[in-house]
């Protein structure tokens, strides 16, 4: 499976629950909003789902894409 995560910085209010939940994946960018700092894999899925759940502004979107064949 392919895992994708995006942060909508127009909605983000820098609450940083994502940074606390998964500090190895999320960080506060130079503009002051959350951003993804590295490639993510299926192994990150639990932490990504937790960050998605805890985001107060629903700014994090996790997508799981099944690979063909």
């Amino acid at each position: 499976v392919l895992v994708q995560v995006t942060v909508n910085s127009r909605k983000c209010m820098a609450n940083q629950m994502c940074v606390r939940t998964a500090p190895d994946i999320f960080e506060l960018g130079t503009a002051g909003y959350s951003r993804v700092k590295r490639e993510v894999t299926a192994a990150d899925l639990d932490k990504l789902r937790e960050a998605e759940e805890m985001c107060p502004t629903s700014s994090i979107m996790v997508e799981v894409l099944e690979e063909e064949g």
């Binding site: 127009r10 209010m13 820098a14 609450n15 940083q16 629950m17 606390r20 002051g32 759940e53 805890m54 985001c55 107060p56 502004t57 629903s58």
Partner: protein, 418 residues
């Protein structure tokens, strides 16, 4: 009189003092004062505080949690107030502030991180969405009574009841205790929002609140549930995550802040629509705009107007020196009307391209209950509009004398059902 012309002519420091002392005419419309402060003294040093009114400055202060902390530092505005009191009342003042000092909104890491972590999960957008049907049902029931009479005092008969019912259910406080919680909350609101007036009343309210809570804990201990109170009590019981004082303080803040601000958001919002017929017609014609409308309610008459911070070290803001220990008074309600941030900031317009605002703050302290407040307000105002094709103001709507909580004394309405 404080027409905009009068505001221009009056000394800015004197005028600010009159607002801090809650002179009724300025309370009715503080925005001309805010605009003068933004233009002439965006960082005003006055009464041992730095008062800020510009969006960019306020956002920067809130975000810099190391320089500007939530707890008081050194000779704070609390000690300045205590110095003017007799020893007995000074002791009560310190007691009140010490209790409220454990509120999430005025705590710093690591305590803030720990307590916020315990509460946060109950207020996520997904959890809040699960409460929609319950909110819709209570809204319907409260409006049934208003429909029968054809008139309503919106705040007393509707806007405080709905959010208090919901937060009460989350915290194990029965619906029949609403009047008690409302009365105690009002005493705290006066204390917080009027420069520590009503010290004795607030002290008594805290005592009553705590004794009420201890009864709730006893009941919940006998029958634990899947609610937030049970989660808090488990955290307190293990002795590591929450002290008894923190439990009491957090419960009082959630019961108080969990309804007072949303009460005002609902009433301020409906009042804004009723005084802007074009906007009212627009949202009636396009009910899907209610989400935008709620954001504009939050910007245009922000129900929680002020945050305070303390400088943990010497700093400068817009060229003005802020010494360590100074209190900063941040007017979110002014930031949300900053002409440098918004085009025509005083125009109420739910179709603005950029509806982002500081009504719930920003950063780690970003309002815990914001998703719930937004949902309750959208359902409350949306349902009122759908149910009553004709809504008219039935008397004057005056703003309460409170710096912190911007809300109306009463909002009497005449209603005609479909």
């Amino acid at each position: 009189m404080t027409t905009p012309e009068a505001v221009q002519a009056t000394d800015l420091v004197e005028l600010t003092g009159r607002y801090f002392d809650l002179e009724p005419e300025i309370v009715q419309d503080p925005y001309p004062l805010f605009h003068r402060l933004q233009a002439e003294a965006p960082v005003l040093i006055f009464r041992s505080m730095a008062t800020l009114t510009r969006y960019a400055d306020i956002e920067a202060v809130i975000r810099d949690m190391e320089t500007y902390v939530s707890r008081p530092v050194g000779a704070s505005r609390v000690e300045a107030a205590a110095a003017r009191l007799d020893p007995h009342r000074a002791a009560l003042l310190r007691e009140n502030v010490a209790f409220m000092g454990q509120w999430l909104s005025v705590s710093d890491p690591p305590a803030h991180t720990r307590i916020r972590g315990l509460a946060h999960r109950a207020f996520t957008p997904r959890h809040v969405a699960e409460l929609r049907q319950q909110v819709q049902r209570i809204t319907g029931e409260l409006l049934d009574r208003a429909a029968e009479k054809g008139r309503v005092e919106l705040i007393d008969e509707f806007a405080f009841q709905l959010p208090l019912f919901v937060i009460g259910a989350m915290l194990g406080a029965p619906a029949e205790d609403r009047r008690l919680v409302r009365r105690l909350s009002n005493a705290l609101a006066d204390f917080i929002g009027a420069e520590y007036r009503g010290i004795e009343e607030a002290n008594q309210a805290i005592k009553e609140f705590r004794s009420y809570l201890h009864d709730l804990y006893e009941k919940r201990r006998a029958s634990p549930g899947p609610d937030l109170l049970t989660a808090f009590m488990e955290a307190e019981a293990d002795g590591q995550r929450l002290t008894r004082d923190e439990l009491d303080a957090t419960m009082v803040q959630l019961l108080f802040a969990g309804h007072e601000t949303t009460t005002n958001l609902i009433a301020n919002g409906l009042h804004a629509l009723l005084t802007h017929p074009d906007q009212l017609a627009r949202v009636r014609a396009e009910p899907q705009l209610i989400g935008n409308a709620v954001e504009e309610f939050l910007r245009w008459n922000t129900s929680s107007q002020v945050l305070h911070r303390s400088a943990s070290r010497d700093s400068q803001i817009a060229g003005v020196g802020i010494p360590r220990g100074m209190t900063l008074r941040l007017f979110l309600g002014a930031a949300n009307r900053d002409p440098e941030r918004y085009e025509e900031p005083d125009r109420f317009d739910m179709t603005r391209a950029d509806l982002k605002h500081l009504g719930f703050g920003i950063g780690p302290h970003y309002c815990l209950g914001q998703a719930l407040a937004r949902m309750e307000t959208a359902i409350a105002v949306g349902t009122i509009l759908a149910r009553f094709p004709v809504i008219e103001l039935d008397g004057p709507a005056r703003w309460r004398p409170n710096l912190q909580l911007r809300g109306l004394e009463a909002l009497p309405l005449r209603l005609r059902a479909a």
